[in-house]
Symmetry: C3
Subunit: 510 residues, 3 copies
């Protein structure tokens, strides 16, 4: 009798789960969870524990489904290309390619960003946690990436983050004001400027440009949680809520020695949100403010601008490119250029790939690259052993493939403004610009100390450094043949792109 | 037939689970698990795998219940206060307040400590792992906090920990003896002394005070597991067991070149446990021991006391307070004061808040503060965006709240001797002493390098550093009004507390 | 009707699971998973979500079973020894001993290694992730250990790892060539040489010895994932696949400025795998190569060999042993000896324990020791509080044991070539060589900065440093007795081993 009764409960628990799952509408997620858990609460004869088990099951189920949904969303336009040598199955061709689009954990698009602040004057978008996408990204889980876009003549209200932040200005002319100790530092920035805002620094930002939108890319390293940070707004208002309003009224009154009514007035008036319109006059005053403890870098002649000791910005484009030819330019800033990067152990680079050109296949010896596409179109290809081994463990039907031998999957993604791709240390990668426009990519290279970029082809490719016997053994062909082919490409780092790109993506037509 | 048979098993597995869960007694936990798993072992017709699945289910279930029980235990005396402006719902009032007591992950009380050593002469208590309380504390998961309390004239037996340890003496007069290399260092400590005991250092402690108990607060950073450490007792005895007794007798005999009987005598006699009574004579000898390689700091004239290079202690109260007025005093020790703190990247501070006074609402730019209340009563309030966002995700019924805008929850806890609260980097916080007694708080500030304390109100508050246009935009009121209110409170860091505290917790009466 | 239908599905899901689990063959694992998931895909009436739930259950189940299987495999030859004092239950004897063999998380044997590369000329083996064995090893989860064994006159094809690697040469005479920047460095190594290969460095290796196999032990620290690394082969061939072959043909053609056919020829010829036979002539040329940017250390007179600034090797055996007597020798290399170890924060030591002798019971104050047995036979014993507490929590039947007092389990393992054991910081340990042969152990000490080895017995044992009163209190016997026993063993670090070892493992006979 007791057992029979319990059995009914089990059945009911599952029934709830399945009943909900079968009537699923993919557009509404949380309502579904609510409905499932609601049904748990009304399970006849179930006690509290059983209801909780039921609710947990709802939760697990919804999580699983969301995951699945995400993967489905990522499927998008899977393209394929004809295999390198179909008969010999040297490239696994379509099948493999398809798979990589389904589950490319190194590539992020619009839907992977979360909008954490949005007003009619601008918005802040943050990419999802890397480890939410894939466990293969846990090596960079302490970093987040995002962007700030605001209108001309706008103002981002004072706030601080519990994260170190490195900003790169791609568009617009921001003035960033930080309160450090008992003084304020204001920096008039321009395109190409890099500025670090240390964790916890109160900061506000204007876009002093009258016509152009502000577009800043941000790399963030949270300081109190490994992969999560929050913005704390220190002005007035309810939306965003002022941090002052979290304290109880008695405490606030004592802290300010002020009356309840005046505090209510002070914190209750600001209703425009955290990114708002500023008047031309206000912008002008904040662009040229001076006097007192304030400092405007880099215009004060008496305090010379020095990137190594000051908290001021560094302009990436004023440095000579480290690689440059008609196919592209690479600008790099390391610890020596901008001391502030050392504590975060990052390097910043900017690649401008001429349309129709490509970056040499290469790898980074130590750093993992977080790449944010700023402009243009194209695609990247990367050789990844992790995915290949996952895949091969799923292909048990092919026992001839020895498990004791690494193989690499071609990981690929179509690049356009706002897409992000990750290149882990050691992974060979290339990026190709479309025929239509230059491809401009900003890279944050994490774990930068002692990193070396190692080119696989072109002038100074790594194979040229092997001894002749090593070349012969490694390739199984006469050394002359190895040298002949590796010496053909005489450009360095940037090359002319694949020829057939002239006809568009010819290789996607099977 | 086969299928039907299996179905029965499934039903049985669940029946066991539910049968146990329905007859639950919350007082006995482990017996319940035992019972559940016992029933699994006797499932008719189930094979080993099925039994194991069944047992795993038992385990999951019990874990879930314990978690639930813990939350229930934490409910305690939830108080509420009248909202700041009930009509406009500016403070969410009671409902929110209630919730925060239910699930305040930043606040720890007596029941959150585990007693790891206890004799009639004293005890060692360690706070549970921070991540057991909440995932929001994983940023400090590599640290543990605890206390040592012993009687007058007591002796803590020789041991070492697989953790770095920083001790703060709040009461009693300990002599701490450490063996380092081939010599021993003995330090006569007093109230306010900070001493680091490096991981693995053999150490023993006496309380040389004849009347006062010893009370030491300890911050620990495990070296071999991130959040777990153990004590290794190197004397004799069974309780605690001597580390020598874990070796097999043959090995011990060879290691000592000694006979079985004499080893048995040596390790078998000590029966008083690890904290024991010492005679006045023993205490005196150990307080004034000298000669040979021994050193008693800071009394040896020939080896001058230097905090930066020696392993000796630093007295926090002999330094000038960094903040001081009639409302309180703040003592701080950083790397410059005590070099030993640098490797742990911590700073130690001690706040003595005058009764009826409060600390300015402020935040730390980088460090997370682990605060241990040493004496007095009061409460703390903190603005927390993490809880607020959790909460709002649960309140799907209020779609008018835009998800793209941060809000902050008031996190609060009643403070008394032995309570612990955590203040993550960036989170605005204040603490208020009751009218009855000074509130004395010891803080370990983790991640201390380049940290800055940033006051939100009072003299040198952060808002005063904003430009006038930024003030107007941030608050939406004329700059004169902003300045007038922010200039009212002219004290720095310690203020007169909320007035209505004179009548007790008036604001808790709805 | 709907509910009934769903119920059927639940039943089916479980039926699949149980049907598979009951017909299990322990030899084939993945096929079983495949079968289980296949059945899920053909569940009648189930929609996609239900099938996925079903598959997930298969997955969980198989994982659980593998775990279980692994534990079973580890049971092996549990030995026991007679208790120290059975009547008084001072050593818990057989029962405890048995348990420790069942679940010793600190000991690894052949089956715990994975062969990641294997050809007829050699193989690379890597120990499983430490955390796969036990959560107690998560403190060293960022390290991996493995070995390379190749034939005389063999060649390991050019590759790079996404891991820092420290090599120790125990046998054979390798020449290791690394490409760094635009030059190559070749190092002719011998027995005892330590060489660090930084992450991402292209490297190839020959064994220039004509008769002896090459045996290198490697410590690896992955740079892009905490506990996982991959080899990237940069030559030709399919097995291992060349990294070049992961790129699409169009991209490769552009990168090389070469035709499809010639690329296919270049990358398609090498068919011998990544470890291959080299001719005597090839070996000779690569052992004595010179000219151009190449450098052979340590033979170039014009560039003096300096271990602190160069990337060259350090020979452990050319340093004076730090401990040495007729019972054994200890060689140690720290940051001062080999600068390259500093970044990894490791120290390397080599203990050669004379047959019939033993290492003093001792512990490391800070570092965790990863020990690889290179030759000989013997066993180790370690005192472990973690296992003891796990055990005691399982022995709820013995309530007389106070939970508030640490106890230690004897952890033990039989050592022979290729076994690995881990000694966490603070844990007392000893190792004993058999009567038949010297026991040679290589240790990587992780977290080495400021580490101290602390001996528990023998000359300069830690107890001798205690004050006389502390000795009396700690042991509960007159100080004379303590001193008498601790002074008997006058050897330092290496002692004569247990006497009864002459009769073989006498203590294993109950």
């Amino acid at each position: 009798m007791e057992i029979k009764n319990k059995l009914c409960l089990v059945v009911l628990v599952f029934s709830v789960l399945l009943a909900v799952s079968s009537g699923v509408d993919y557009k509404e997620k949380d309502p579904e969870l609510r409905q499932c858990q609601h049904q748990c609460q009304h399970l006849r004869g179930a006690d509290e524990q059983q209801k909780q088990i039921c609710e947990q099951r709802c939760d697990d189920y919804i999580k699983q489904k969301k995951q699945e949904e995400k993967q489905r969303r990522g499927e998008g336009g899977g393209t394929s290309f004809y295999g390198y040598d179909e008969d010999q199955e040297q490239y696994q061709g379509q099948q493999r390619q398809q798979q990589q689009y389904d589950q490319n954990p190194y590539f992020f698009e619009d839907q992977d960003f979360e909008t954490i602040v949005e007003t009619d004057q601008g918005r802040v978008q943050i990419l999802q946690k890397f480890t939410e996408k894939s466990d293969l990204l846990r090596g960079i889980q302490n970093f987040r990436i995002g962007s700030l876009i605001t209108n001309p003549h706008s103002f981002v209200a004072p706030h601080h983050l519990d994260a170190d932040c490195v900003c790169f200005v791609f568009q617009g002319r921001p003035t960033i004001s930080m309160v450090r100790g008992e003084k304020r530092e204001s920096h008039n920035l321009e395109r190409g400027d890099i500025l670090r805002v240390p964790a916890g620094t109160p900061v506000y930002i204007i876009n002093r440009d009258e016509n152009e939108k502000l577009f800043i890319v941000k790399l963030l390293r949270p300081v109190s949680l490994p992969d999560q940070f929050e913005a704390f707004f220190g002005g007035g208002g309810e939306n965003p809520e002022s941090i002052f309003r979290a304290f109880s009224p008695e405490v606030l009154q004592a802290a300010f020695k002020a009356g309840r009514d005046e505090l209510q007035r002070l914190f209750g008036q600001q209703r425009q949100g955290s990114i708002m319109k500023a008047s031309r006059e206000q912008i002008q005053k904040m662009s040229h403010s001076s006097g007192g403890a304030e400092k405007i870098w880099p215009f004060h002649g008496d305090e010379p601008f020095s990137t190594s000791t000051k908290s001021g910005p560094f302009n990436l484009f004023k440095k000579r490119p480290s690689q440059s030819n008609q196919h592209g330019h690479l600008f790099e800033a390391d610890f020596n250029d901008y001391k502030q990067l050392e504590e975060l152990d990052i390097q910043i680079s900017f690649a401008n790939i001429t349309r129709g050109s490509m970056v040499a296949p290469h790898f980074n010896s130590k750093s993992t690259k977080i790449s944010f596409v700023l402009d243009g179109e194209g695609f990247f290809e990367m050789a990844c052993p992790h995915l290949a081994s996952q895949e091969s463990s799923q292909r048990q039907q092919q026992p001839q493939r020895r498990s004791s031998s690494p193989s690499y999957q071609n990981v690929r993604g179509d690049l356009r403004r706002g897409t992000v791709f990750i290149v882990p240390a050691g992974h060979p990668v290339t990026a190709i610009a479309s025929r239509n426009s230059n491809l401009q990519i900003l890279c944050f290279e994490v774990n930068a100390k002692d990193n070396v970029k190692i080119p696989l082809t072109g002038k100074s490719n790594v194979v040229s450094q092997f001894e002749r016997e090593a070349k012969e053994l490694a390739f199984g062909v006469p050394v002359k043949e190895v040298d002949r082919i590796f010496n053909k490409q005489q450009d360095q780092f940037f090359f002319e792109g694949p020829n057939n790109q002239q006809q568009g993506r010819m290789w996607s037509v099977v």
